[in-house]
Amino acid sequence: MIPVLAVVTALPGFAADPAPLAFVQKNCVACHNASLSSGGVNFLANLRPDTFAQNREIWERALAKLKSGEMPPPGVAKPPAAEIAAVTKWLADEFTQQDSQVQPDAGHVAARRLNNAEYNNTVRDLLGVDTQPAADFPADQAAYGFDDVSDALNISSVLLEKYADAAERSVRTALFGPEKLKPAAVHYPFPVRLNDTRGRGPVKLPADIADYDQTGLSLRSASHVTHRFPVEGVYSFRVVFNGHRPNQSMPARIELWIDGKQQQEFDVDATDLEGQNREARLKVTAGEHLISVSYLKQYHGLPPNYGGPEPSTRPPAPLLDSTRGKLTEHDIELLRKLGTTIKPDGVETRIDNRFESLDIGGPFEQVTGPSPASRRLIFACGHLDGKHNASCPRVIVSTFAQRAFRRPLAPKEADAYLSLYTLARKQGDSFDNAIAAALESVMVSPDFLFRIERDQPHNSRNAETAAIPVSDYEMASRLSYFLWSTMPDAELLRLASQHKLRRPAALEAQVRRMLRDEKSRALVDNFGGQWLQFRNIDVVRPDLAKFPDFDDSLRQSMRRETELFLDNIVRSDGSVLDILNANYTFVDERLARFYGIPGIRGPEFRRVDMSATERGGGVLAQASILTISSYATRTSPVLRGKWILENLLNAPPPPPPPSVPALDDTKVGQSASLRQQMEAHRASPVCATCHSKMDPLGFGLENLNAIGQWRDKDGSFPVDATGSLPGGKAFRGPKELKTLMLQDRDAFVAGLTEKIMIYALGRGVERFDRPAMKTVEADLAAHDYRFSALVLGVVNSLPFQMKHAQEPHPREPKDAVVAMAGEKSK
């Protein structure tokens, strides 16, 4: 947030110490003046001592750029190092002096609506059913890069209706089991990813024929689809094939996989596979699964003249007498036997076997009935067999409401929800149905849908800062939504009820327990996925014509790598610096082949050492990040440079000016390399300011193509992976870039701290949060950059522990409220 016009600058100490002013006038105002205002900065405007504090951000930028050597820019005379050192020291001291006067403030977060991920997880833990109801909700809005920011989480009548529907469905699923579904089919047609032209004579086998992927999963002939199964049950899988196998080949072996596990093999003896099909019926659990179909040992069993492994031992297939015109009697007899498994107009030589489509139908034999675990969660009075007594409805409803509201109920609060039970009973509903109505009413209440932190009466209110500690229960929710994106578990609630959660030792023990728990995956998905933006891997569409190797299975493996990498840092308390550079990563066979790492077989992910590879480790070596920071058709040093500046160097560039011409994609790699073209683009001074920072970073990654695969050439041009950091430090290739970034770790740590604070607090960070963030940064450095130190730093910080008390407004007269909300008076 830099004011573009009328930038104001004056240093309060200018009068006392004229040196800084002289420095600015000598070195800066030639460009940063009223008429040029380069970069939107004008050091001549409004030189008033009282505005120094307001323009802190400008001076911080100036400090950063002086320190890094970015300013004064190349081509302008550099002031002597001693002068720079003096002025930067002067600025830094001035800031420290300012900060010591800033009154820390805990800030305030308005009632935060559960976002879609939190809603899904909370319903799962509240009812014991993982129905992912939010899949049908409108997408949440994000602010400051995260979708858990209170100000951006609105509610509308459309969403409220969906909440009501979701409450009804989830409660009924928990009490009575999933809704009985009629079988229906979903058809997945697969794109052609193979060259489908007819060859003459044997087709050339791939170069790695001695060590090709015998599972077929990573070959272009395979197809993959992620399918959501609404309920557990039996589903039918109808696989339709297409393409061809050479005459005389052994029968094709086709495997159907679910989540990388072999389920069913089919043998198909055909040279013309077009429309041939097989069907399997398999029991599948509810939820998303990756379904794959592949040709096993695709290059085995070919005719001997192909030179492949284990050549066919069968005699050549009988041929038709005629390939054109009328069939002979012999041909008619032969085709009677072979049907459409051969093409009747020639000898088949192609190996372009592939899949036409997959139909998933069902559910058949749907698993019905509620899970005992769900009923145990709900029937808190302990009568699962239905022999309830008179006090049961109250016990059930109030226990449920306490868990749903994540706090104890006020006296009489349960009565309101119990009234739904009474109403339904009066309408003739069964006990269970009436309980369902009461529970649904709990789940449309704002106490469930929002995290509301009340200002409890507190003795400990700090008179100066108006900060009060949040309650024990509110602390439990803050912790669990931060680390797990869900409601607090029984242990957190128990500690809160005993007022033990705020004790430092207990709090630390809980944080460590929560990070080790597998629910901390939510932190990887929701914090990591948004901070590093790797969530976008689900929606990118690399151009299949340019990147035929990309498919849904590779997409999943890419995402899984980054998830496991971050999950490992979270759960085994690794160093956050591993994100910048690490000597390890996690791969399955698909990704290992994609990265060119030998000897990894099978679909399980495992940790591998990356120190000997050219790409190295850290997120900048991961295909997910490299793909989401590219265009569909090519790499973008601009996007990658911007990504690095934003996420790893804490220096987001401003948005581009309007009406900037885009690069002509068709010329890349033809008339000039991408790099040459972009350097031409940077010749324009308007573009140069920002692009001279972004592009050289991105160029360092040019050895990795738009889906993250290593390359030595861009089109017909050798890759030039030299680049430089904003300060001018030069490097060649990703490894040197990462080494330099590790040296510059402070910016990374500051950026990470800011982002995780926003995510944890659910609000943007303010000037008054700086002291808290500085403490977190220092703690992190002091503790070997362990992830737990980062989280504990945030959890122990003032804004996480406390909140700025709000004065409740005196209740306005009822009519006024009615008018304001537009209510009909009743």
Binding site: A110, V158, A184, V240, S445, L449, P808, H809, A821, E823
Partner: protein
Amino acid sequence: MRIVTGKHLSRRTLLRGAGAAVALPFLDAMQPALAAPVKSVRRIAVVYLPNGIIMDQWTPASAGKDFAFTRILKPLEPFRDDITIVSGLENKAAERAQGGGHAKASGSFLSGAPPKYTAGADVHAGTTFDQLAAKKWAAETRVPSLQLGCEDSRMVGNCDTGSSCAYTNSLSWKDPDTPLAVDVNPRSVFERLFGSADPSLTPQERARRAMYRRSMLDLSRDNTRRLEAELGPADRRKMDEYLTSVRELEQRMDAMEKDAARIPPVEKPAGIPFVFSDYVKLMFDLQAIAFQNDLTRVSTMMIGREGSVRTYPEIEVPDPHHPLTHHRGHPDFIEKVTKINCLHAQLFAHFVAKLKATPDGDGSLLDHSAILYGGALSDGNAHSNVNLPLLIAGQTGSNRIGGVHVKLAKATPAANLFLSMLAGAGLSVETFADSTGTLDLRG
């Protein structure tokens, strides 16, 4: 290339796109739509068959009124007086064009314009005749036209010897650059026609659930008002937003209740039915309902796309359709293709029966509909574009037709038939594609 999916018209999208301010676009729009049409209107539909037909089992031996129904057309015999078989039409555009035989056929069929030979995004063909009617009537119905299919399509790259998939996946083209994607999911067709109302509950159950929901909302409102007293201004703003949502939801429920009588007359489909014949019949039923309620007057449906490799094990054809049609005279293959042709005709007879049984104005729905049934290839083995297998069920206009086999001079442009259908429906179009005039379909 733009693919228009029609999804932009769904109620959900409208709600999302326009926000809560336009809470009732669906119900408002339904008001005139579902009221019984005052005067009879005309409808135009096309039912498309892929991969050609075994022609000697389709074409009746004699022309005129006393023709005998052939094996393939036998299922339509009960509707003899409503059926007009038109032989001898030709699609010249497909012969002129370059590219795969299947892509050229369906890609040019209803427009008479040769499709540009490309596998890229620069597809180009012609505006199809159904879309002329759809444009003319667009303002009068909820949905200008339906494009349905019973076979999903891959929609990317090259589907037939270097020709874009758009040519085999789509039948209707809004303009020469815009193929209209077919909707293959009965559920989404239903939602397009009726919004997302759930007709599966009994009226009593629906009313009771609505009452509970109102009680829950009342309760939440009371709690929230009490809660607001404890909160500061920022939290109160959030709670006011919640209260506004409660009020708007109640208003929507009021409107819904008034509209209870307009709950659609069919069950909401779960998705694609598992059995093919159920699937096709359901798609026909949805068209019949749309016509009956004047939700649209134009529809096209592809029973399969060109090159379809569907298998029909239920009628002892476990082999894929397309390779069978390249039969080279093999009697077994021909028999199997004939069986597929027969099955399609049986399913079509279901549609005809439904339209005939539905009263509409001074007659039946069939009396006010012109349904073109057939394909853009005659002999699939040779990818032949002459002597196309075509018939009309119903009436093209006020001059009654039916009960006749019209045998035209060789090489009559198929566009003449489309022009006749448009003229009969009251659209004054001088010419269409390579048309040379309208046809006399009375035989």
